[in-house]
Assembly symmetry: C2
Homo-oligomer: 275 residues x 2
């Protein structure tokens, strides 16, 4: 019998992506290794029985019982998985029962509610925002910049592109991004095209040593990646951001998700709500 790592199953009638992300987060609280197996689209009795077999086969192969996160709306399907050989953490029913009590109504128990409906305005906004962010990546276009909810500025490789795309994909936010380059620093002014949009600008900055590392991965030994040059660009960019009074965040130790959340706090009128 093999011992480790312990297997974690995520069993869902939808994609299971949210449950999977959650299981990663919560298990990161333990100093142990886990192997994650997601079983998506378990929306029939047959698929439930198949998933149960797979879980039980795993349970008998390893010394440590698997952990099973479930988001299964249908009671019959849920019942089958709940009898698998492992520890069940039921993300759906754990919360749905107290919510039903509080709201004083039964839930619809509709499979398919749990995944994103592509006919909603929210979903259409996401697709449209992805197209917008791609068209306005790296200053490629200044057409329709007035439609952007935010325009990220910063030196090359400060994290503008992934942040723009994340804002679009997760929140349907039209985000453009514009690089600040040595030409701008010599002229001592923001790129002409974005000067009228200072109220939409958000600056990304970065530690010059980290920037040099990142640039060296792309163009080893170049002037572009040189530490002195990175120091110069970052210092000039920061000065320019200060001069035009725009909010700024350092991407040095922050994930895309954290940067996006901070930007959202600024651009939402009530600073915290969304949708």
């Amino acid at each position: 019998m093999s011992n480790k790592p312990r297997t974690v199953f995520i069993v869902s009638d939808g994609t299971g992506i949210t449950a999977e992300t959650f299981s990663h987060s919560i298990l990161a609280q333990f100093e142990a290794e886990f192997k994650f197996i997601r079983i998506p689209f378990v929306d029939s009795i047959d698929k439930a029985l198949e998933a149960k077999s797979e879980i039980n086969a795993n349970a008998s192969r390893f010394e440590e019982k698997p952990i099973i996160f479930t988001t299964l709306v249908n009671s019959d399907i849920n019942h089958i998985i709940s009898q698998s050989n492992g520890m069940i953490l039921d993300m759906f029913h754990t919360f749905i029962s107290p919510l039903e009590k509080m709201l004083g109504v039964k839930s619809t128990h509709a499979i398919g509610q749990f995944h994103q409906n592509i006919d909603t305005q929210g979903y259409k906004n996401r697709i449209e925002a992805i197209n917008f962010s791609l068209a306005h990546d790296d200053g490629q276009s200044h057409k329709n910049l007035k439609d952007a909810a935010v325009i990220l500025v910063g030196v090359s490789r400060s994290g503008k592109t992934p942040t723009s795309l994340y804002l679009a994909m997760q929140y349907g936010i039209k985000s453009a991004n514009y690089p600040l380059i040595p030409d701008d620093f010599e002229r001592g002014n923001l790129p002409h095209e974005i000067q009228q949009f200072t109220n939409k600008l958000f600056g990304l900055t970065i530690n010059p040593m980290r920037l040099s590392e990142i640039r060296n991965e792309r163009r080893p030994g170049s002037k572009y990646a040189n530490l002195e040059n990175c120091r110069y660009e970052v210092s000039e960019a920061e000065e320019m951001m200060k001069k035009v009074h725009i909010p700024t965040i350092s991407s040095t130790h922050k994930s895309i998700e954290e940067i996006a959340t901070t930007i959202l706090q600024h651009i939402r009128k009530d600073s915290k709500s969304y949708y």
Copy 2:
């Protein structure tokens, strides 16, 4: 006193994005309207007291008590929020206690574990994959196509770009995408550059009427958007996919997340696991 919609707070010591997505999914089970307010980065007593005040102000302004989803690792912070005037759904402690029992160890209770650490290989892979997918969007480059885990093919506007970017952003999967265009259909062959990679290809198809709608939003009244032309392109593309025996999925009624999950099932060797 105003009545609806009921407010849902998401209070987290990190970004709260996972909890927010989860709360949307679970509340979609109820036929009611909700207003979501996310309060991120609640990682100090002061911020907890501030969040509690905001929640209580909401509770006294509206007839219906707010619902409060929390992911707060620190017990003192969690205790403050748990005394807010509303219904608490504690996503952290609900699951951490049974896990501690089962695993026979205490969790680290470290704030910051709950959010993505940018120094991990997984995070670096995501950023690298985003750059790869952007460079290989819409057949822009065929350099390093051998490094792609998957190459999506399909007619223009069948959903290749958002799916590629999602695979990169969520899973760190290097995904290229190549359009199938009338030139290819006339020649009766896949684009030359991808012919050697049929084992990496995954086809996206789409209902011609839906395609025509999407294209008409971009270029109203064009031949490109014309229903007959869409029928022709889709039928030719499907025939080509069949001829080269590649797996195919229709994007007509599927979200990016569902398409990505289906693709992952195909490209993962063991068809379900990942990471």
